[in-house]
Symmetry: C2
Subunit: 517 residues, 2 copies
């Protein structure tokens, strides 16, 4: 058994049985070894941002990591932005980065580069496998490290000769570090805060955005009057009819200031106190209202759902959660607008949908339109590095082949990782992509004003304009093997969305939605 | 004057007047400042790999750096692979990477990441601008550092508040470090080697791949019998009728062994001794023939053209260079093959063309077919990170608007940075892209055999297969605003290639060329 075979065997035994791959020469033994371990599924991406974003989406839904297969430092570099998003989501990911043979490195061949430096920038776990006999143990350690609470990026650097050498030994799974139990004293002290009667915001993140924790938070809110909020960009938010409807904290500092107006205590559960996404001249970075106290119920590496349930038992013993009623918007008619397209989605969203949300400014009104839709998951842009929606949708669809995946994608974000469409076609994934096509980096037009750069002239505005030439997403999608249509009215969007959901395989709808601003 | 304005003013004064840009919120003041410095041209790329590859292609042709504008660590990450290629080409590039405001960093906002670590992996120059008053001086230092012989990647990290703050002071250009003069003793000792009459290979790289040095090398070869070779992946190779025709060292170790068979001395000029691109089980990494001696005429940071001329004066005083005669292949007919498509290019290549060559396996026979074509430049994949051809062609066309740019692009490499086509359309660049469409990662099929992974089964082969679904490059190009056609015969390719060259603006030809292997 060679090193590559022992690696794949170990990954599969540890529950990692999907490998999103963009290999090169130094990974050819890994590729060859795929056929020796039938349980491992290799999924090809035509660019590394597709591969890493798909691993993120996969793990958010599957609850366990996928592997990626990347070609030396440049391959890791190309995948870095979506690994950044995965890091911010605390998604477990196991990168396998091929490298030159150990004895070849000193020759500084053209593809030689500092892989450790790039991998290290992810603040996760990095190891270089030095010998074939150790690859199995290194792989088991990588899978465990990725899953150590709350989840991280683990990068295993695999020299080509370590991969092709004989003497590989598969290794049994290593248990990851489980979330820590929140001390009872902490829960009691938060209960005291809630009993003061002073205005409290309960900020939920990470695992607190899933049903069990949301129900507990809803009970606490109902009993104490605390206002619950979900963090601005949750990794995976469970919502819809039958689940508590919890408002998300806004993207803009002004929104958050409004949402937290008058709050005296911010109780944080599974996330951190709110900060501004960007800095703006003369505006605060820290979004905790002045004079308010912060109380941490559970940190990122703690068992937040259990802590919330204990807290609910203390302060809301017999109070049930408030659950969203089933309610859908009317199907709108007429030309598409930033206001009406969300109603089409809300009216037609199927049961059990997974929404990969990179609609950005176009999606501002989406939460309201879908709050009473059937139960669904929302996967958001956790790290702010755009180009994440299509890959995340791809990975989510691999993880949940029986669930409809809907990728709401702004045109400005779509081009970074557009080859994800090809992988959707090749794997026949049930992904419906709706491109919100406003022909601009609309969010940057807004930001240009918000940062106080009022003097913007034609050159500046030109850099935020995606027309001239217009991108034709229908042709691009068709070129990658994904059937596509264009919608300019709400009726067309509804008809095309229905059809896309009814037919198996991927579809793309180019929705001509004017800018909201 | 704010920091951004002082930065752009300084760049322009130092000769950097093109900025390939993919900005975000933290770069909005830089974007706004573009209108205050009319000489600076901002060119939008829809993905960072386009931006960094275009900066590489631009500088290879313009002979001076472009700037890039990138959005924090993830933007730099997305651009890293083509910066790796630029690093290997010793291309001067000035990255401006926006970052959070200095006071915002401690909040670890979603886009916070370790920019220095990623930039540092490029072994170039990295500086963070700490105050608005220093931005001008920092920018001047960056431009100089990028141009210090032999050229490198300079990365200036620009916090948002340093950019928007008042008190910017433009700085006069700082002279870069010129190439060092090669000592006369070194030149004389190489002359002695050449006079031994023993078999000598003269390996040319970097600046030695331009006309002046090539003429000197040709004289030396003619007078002494030394065999001249150009390094495998030159940054910019001048060739064609009227210039010395110098064979490139092969990509495969076996080719190099054949080329250097019997050589006793390897004289290195502007590059390093030959090494294998990858390691293979049981094969050597060092491609200097056993027993041969290596002599360095000029290192990367030395004035290699002058050294070659001095050497030629010593050993070939009255010997003229041997120049390629004008000669073109006959236009072929019939179905396209890996053998005949290169003859179409050779037959029709226009005077003064710039070839961005990422044809990979499909381009094996290209050098022979174009050796007698009119004078042209070839820009190659210096760092081995695929996805470089389209961006490099884009940048080259910005640098030389009056020259025809021809991008020979393998299908396997095309998808990484395909949004380059949109920039070509927006800027109306005279780029003719010929996609060599064999529907496979053909080079990896070859490598799978070469690394000794004979056991490859259907899963392994599937990961190297780009069919299912077939990519339709005509639709993809049209979707990005580039007119496109498909050629299946040599006649069609010739007709379409002629038309593309005759019409202004970009064109793409999807050439259905079967795999060579």
């Amino acid at each position: 058994m060679n090193g590559a075979q022992s690696l794949i065997r170990t990954l599969v035994d540890a529950g990692v049985d999907v490998c999103f791959s963009n290999p090169g020469t130094s990974e050819m033994h890994f590729v060859a070894a795929l056929d020796s371990v039938p349980e491992m599924r290799g999924v090809l991406g035509l660019a590394e941002g597709v591969v890493t974003g798909a691993a993120d989406g996969y793990a958010r839904i599957a609850g366990r990591p996928a592997a990626t297969l990347l070609h030396l430092g440049p391959g890791l570099g190309n995948g870095l932005a979506n690994l950044h998003n995965a890091r911010r989501a605390h998604t477990p990911v196991v990168n396998v980065v091929g490298d030159h043979a150990t004895y070849h490195k000193r020759f500084d061949a053209p593809l030689e580069s500092d892989i450790e430096a790039v991998a290290g920038s992810l603040n996760g776990w990095v190891r270089r496998s030095d010998s074939t006999a150790d690859v199995g143990a290194d792989a088991a350690a990588a899978v465990a490290a990725a899953q150590d609470a709350p989840g991280r990026i683990a990068t295993l650097i695999l020299p080509a000769d370590v991969s092709w050498g004989d003497g590989g030994r598969p290794c049994a799974p290593v248990p990851p570090r489980a979330p820590k139990t929140v001390p009872e004293t902490t829960i009691k002290s938060v209960a005291e805060v809630l009993r003061t009667g002073e205005p409290v915001a309960l900020l939920l993140g990470g695992a607190a955005c899933r049903e069990r924790a949301l129900r507990a938070a809803s009970r606490i809110a109902a009993a104490t009057g605390a206002k619950p909020f979900v963090e601005t960009f949750p990794s995976r938010l469970e919502r819809g009819a039958g689940l508590p409807a919890v408002e998300r904290l806004g993207y803009l500092a002004e929104q958050v200031a409004y949402q937290l107006d008058g709050i005296r205590h911010v109780v944080v559960a599974g996330t951190r106190p709110p900060v501004s996404f960007f800095a703006y001249p003369g505006k605060a970075s820290d979004l905790v209202p002045e004079g308010a106290q912060v109380h941490t119920l559970a940190g990122l590496d703690e068992d937040v759902p259990t802590a919330l349930e204990h807290l609910a038992d203390l302060v809301a013993a017999d109070v049930p959660p408030v659950l969203a009623q089933s309610h859908r918007p009317e199907l709108p008619s007429g030309d598409l607008t930033a206001q009406n397209w969300v109603d089409v989605i809300g009216a037609l969203l199927p049961e059990g949908a997974i929404i990969a949300d990179e609609a950005n400014t176009s999606g501002l009104l989406l939460p309201g339109a879908t709050a009473g839709a059937p139960r669904h998951d929302v996967l958001t842009l956790t790290g702010g590095a755009i180009g994440q929606g299509m890959p995340v949708a791809t990975g989510a669809a691999i993880a949940a082949p029986d669930r409809p995946v809907i990728n709401l994608e702004s045109d400005g974000s779509a081009l970074y990782t557009i080859p994800a469409l090809w992988t959707q076609a090749r794997e026949n994934l049930n992904v419906t992509t709706v491109v919100l096509d406003n022909r601009a980096y609309a969010i940057l037009r807004m930001e240009l004003q918000r940062v106080g750069a009022e003097s913007a002239g034609p050159k500046a505005k030109g850099l935020l304009d995606l027309s001239g030439p217009d991108l034709d997403f229908v042709r691009i999608a068709e070129g990658m093997g994904v059937p596509a249509t264009r919608a300019t009215t709400a009726e067309e969007l509804a008809e095309q969305f229905r059809r896309a959901l009814a037919e198996p395989g991927p579809h793309l709808i180019d929705a001509m939605v004017p800018p909201i601003l």
